[in-house]
Symmetry: C2
């Protein structure tokens, strides 16, 4: 993305934090970021689209920071989860993301509302998978309930805690307290077997492509990484690394992946690697074919 465009988004974000979204006029953004109206409408077709660009960046930043903490760690460790939530909460606070989302949810713009909805569901889905890590498969019927209630408890605690302590906010305290509560609630509902939401609701809410894309991304990543590390032949290493990178990039990042090119490259590679990495090659083949079948 253009540097100037990014700068405009940053300046607008600053204004949204200070005055709120509604109260910030486009003229304010123009003055504050020193661009003309024409340029603004060259970058964004509306104030709402600027907002979406901002939200995408904030979400991305959040996911990044959050996932960084988990790599190579024990997923069932509650402390890791607490750290992740702390990071999330701190970023929310810094970016005033929650009040921005709440405000903007009433903008009557379908795209924005959908975007926020998907964002919240993704958080729910993340919590669901993390709770599954932490509490184990046997608690599954109650995990969606607890994920939902956790967002509510954390949100309300943070809201009133902020109101009570103005600037000296001990995020860790609020997060730990809220996590303690949900741990206890999980025990409680598992024992009394009370259930409010059917577990399959989450899958029903989240459009398939969102889920599928994520799963696909992880699968292709795993398979290609395995294949890369399996190449012993140093003579051909450069060639096949290039091939694998090409396939990965084409499938994950290209707007219209070139089917025949990908399949051709794959078949070239299959000839040589098939005997040594049978399992992974097969997995990759399945991934590629199902990918093109879908689209």
């Amino acid at each position: 993305m253009n540097d100037r465009k990014k700068h405009v988004i940053m300046m607008a974000h600053q204004l949204f934090i200070e005055k709120g979204f509604q109260a910030t006029s486009i003229q304010d953004i123009l003055d504050y970021s020193g661009i003309s109206k024409g340029t603004f409408y060259n970058y964004f077709s509306s104030k709402n689209e600027l907002l979406i660009a901002l939200l995408k960046e904030l979400y991305f930043e959040m996911e990044q920071a959050q996932n960084k903490l988990l790599v190579g760690q024990d997923a069932s460790d509650l402390e890791i989860f607490i750290k992740q939530v702390e990071v999330q909460t701190e970023l929310n606070r810094k970016n005033k993301l929650i009040s921005l989302l709440e405000e903007v949810n009433f903008s009557n713009d379908k795209e924005i509302i959908h975007f926020i909805r998907i964002g919240q569901l993704k958080i729910l889905k993340w919590l669901h998978s993390r709770f599954l890590d932490i509490f184990g498969k046997e608690k599954e019927p109650y995990i969606l309930d607890c994920a939902i209630m956790f967002t509510g408890i954390l949100h309300i605690n943070f809201k009133y805690y902020s109101a009570a302590h103005e600037k000296n906010i001990n995020i860790s305290k609020v997060v730990r307290y809220s996590v303690s509560r949900i741990v206890s609630i999980m025990e409680d509902v598992a024992k009394s077997k009370e259930q409010l939401f059917e577990p399959q609701l989450l899958g029903h809410w989240l459009p398939k492509n969102h889920q599928q894309k994520k799963v696909f991304q992880r699968d292709i990543d795993k398979t290609i990484t395995a294949l890369k590390s399996g190449i012993k032949d140093t003579d051909l290493e450069d060639k096949y690394l290039e091939f694998l990178d090409f396939i990965q990039d084409e499938l994950l990042h290209a707007k219209k992946p070139r089917r025949h090119l990908v399949e051709n490259v794959f078949n070239e590679m299959k000839k040589d690697l098939s005997p040594t990495n049978k399992k992974e090659i097969f997995a990759l083949e399945v991934l590629i074919s199902t990918y093109f079948q879908r689209s």
Copy 2:
């Protein structure tokens, strides 16, 4: 209030429910309720003031319905509490009050924001007193925490439950589930002695006059009722009933209670009643004097 004015508020409420507050222009309200702009601004100085008038009515309706359920009942009965919350939730749903409040909280209108804040704190205060009834004095250090979390849990459960079940919303199920959770949380925090909010925060948040007014209202009511029923002298009954009603009305409903008038009437009465209702007369005297000291 004028019937026509009430009608305008109703029509506006209808529009707010359908389109939201921001999205409803004053012109919409004029067209929908069939009045002219001049009349509108004769009734309300702005759209925001119309909103405040609406919110006042809705809050009043809610308090009424809620308190009706408690009279003559056992305050520690959890079932009564559940009924009260159900009524509250049903009215919220019917009036779309929650989303209206959330939307309007970003209106940058100080008065509205303050009004909503006070409203929420009053709900919290109500929950606090009800939890005190139900869970007992010994749980007091944790009652504010639980009141806060209860609002969060109920809110989030209702939100996702509505999303999942569209129109077939079983309010009772959501309320009962949420109440079960808070009962368990209360046990949990009382046992682990974890506390997030200091109990005195609520008193600190709610401006004194709000609390004091309520307390004062109840005290004066109690004292005067006791005095009324204590009058045995049928000859003087009419006279003293008139006196007591006057004092009560003057202190509770007059904009500027006439101090000397009230004190004079009270002293007239004191002469005759002092021996028979010593205690109550004294209590009333204290109430009157502290009342005028304050203002």
